[in-house]
Amino acid sequence: MASMQSLDIKNRSATSLPSPSVRSHTELAKLIDVSKCIGCKACQVACMEWNDLRGPVGENTGVYDNPQDLNEHTWTLMRFSEVEPDDFSFEWLIRKDGCMHCDDPGCLKACPAPGAIVQYANGIVDFISEKCIGCGYCIAGCPFDIPRLSRADNRAYKCTLCSDRVAVGLEPACVTTCPTGCITFGTKEDMKQQAVLRIADLNSRGYDNAGLYDPPGVGGTHVMYVLQHADRPGLYHGLPEDPRISPMVGFWQGITKPLAIGALALLAMASFLHFIKHGPNVAEEDDDAPSRDKTRDRKEESSHVE
């Protein structure tokens, strides 16, 4: 996506000073009620249509997932899982996969290009593609394995939560198109309340462990799921139980950077101080330098015995 001036920016990759942020925005969120999804993929198509994405025609490998994985042309993907959550029970769980728009985004933390990833004040995490350098650090930073690099232009892509639509007061394309009302969009508060109602309904239908997926490890997300089995998110095509930014990424992008730059600067400074304290180390010229007689050599030998 391009930068949207009508949306203020809360966080900007590789930037230490605050971004413009005078406008007040409420936090928004998308709620995906997995229990209502019928796997029609209308949202997947709407996403392609709105964002003008046309991937190459894939191959049928005998499952409904199509294509097999997220890619630069597929920012949202229906994941189909056939599971047996309890003895003698069978369920077909369908999860709309894509960027979760974390409140603490690992991609943004990892990105080295200033402003290539931004987080708007409403919570949407967006890639500003023209600033992307194609290093793939965002892929390493993401706890959900979402961003994908395009081989054609070496830039990373993922769901924008239709920031361009949201900026002008529309809801994301997938929300508009969903025929069952499984996907809803609004303020994060409203979406949480909506989830409470849905969970109560699911509880009454025998799903005792129904719940909201809004993982606190990443500060909560701006795409949330209502899950029938919230105690076992892994059932839903490996949705992580407790996603958080990997400690390796946190360490690398946290304390390491200022310490490393400080260490380099200190060492250079220490060298300079040593120089101005002790001066250059000059080997004095001997008067008899050109001669190679034995006397001189003997003198020489004795000189480095302590």
């Binding site: 590789a14 230490s16 690099l149 390796m248 380099l264 040593h274 302590e306």
Partner: protein
């Protein structure tokens, strides 16, 4: 400064080789630091922008790796560590205070130089393997994300350590007058050799006498 009587310390090929390593290192340090810390991102301008910096860095890295490997083969024999080197380390404060007379006798290289040699060699292996694992778009996609994360961490750490080693190396070359000449003209003065590498000097003069 130089003199017909100076001793030849490096052949033309060896010096050319050293400067290939030096130039590729500077380019790698600048392009790497540009991506390492936001305050240094402006360094990408020297390489034609962020995309070009990202593209060029690993290829320059391969050139440096190959050069260091050849340099390693050329000089490994002179950099074997011996008992005197271990003693030399303990006399480091004397070395820093220009009290060479107290130091254990030094051959072609002192312990400090050997440390620089070996850290560069080890550092290059770490940087190569970690660099390959994180290299987009060619290799990184085939490795699990956890390994890529680890590789980035290893790469950043070994790069910073190598840069610290090289800062010391450059400072030593500036501080010890007459050293730079060894890498520019290939020769050193006899007084330099006697003062800083007496055992080597004795070897060389014995060769000459034969």
């Amino acid at each position: 400064m130089s003199n017909k009587d100076d001793i030849r310390r490096y052949k033309d090929g060896e010096r050319l080789h050293h400067w290939i390593v030096a130039v590729t290192f500077i380019l790698l340090a600048m392009s790497g630091l540009a991506l390492f810390h936001p305050s240094l991102y402006w360094l990408t301008n020297l390489f034609g922008g962020g995309q070009w910096t990202r593209i060029l860095h690993p290829f320059i890295g391969l050139v440096m790796f190959v050069s260091v490997m050849v340099l390693m083969v050329r000089f490994w024999r002179h950099n074997l560590v011996n008992r005197d080197d271990l003693r030399w380390i303990r006399y480091l404060p004397d070395a820093l205070h220009k009290r060479e007379g107290r130091l254990p006798p030094v051959g072609r290289y002192n312990a400090g130089q050997k440390i620089i040699y070996w850290s560069t060699v080890i550092g290059m292996f770490l940087l190569l393997f970690s660099g390959l694992i994180m290299w987009q778009p060619y290799f990184a996609p085939v490795f699990p994300i956890g390994l890529v994360r680890f590789a980035i961490l290893v790469h950043a750490f070994s790069a910073i350590l190598l840069m610290m080693v090289i800062i010391l190396h450059i400072y030593a070359a500036i501080w010890v007058k007459g050293s730079l000449q060894a890498m520019v003209k290939g020769t050193v003065s006899r007084t330099w050799a006697k003062k800083h590498h007496p055992l080597w000097y004795r070897e060389v003069t014995q060769e000459e006498r034969k």
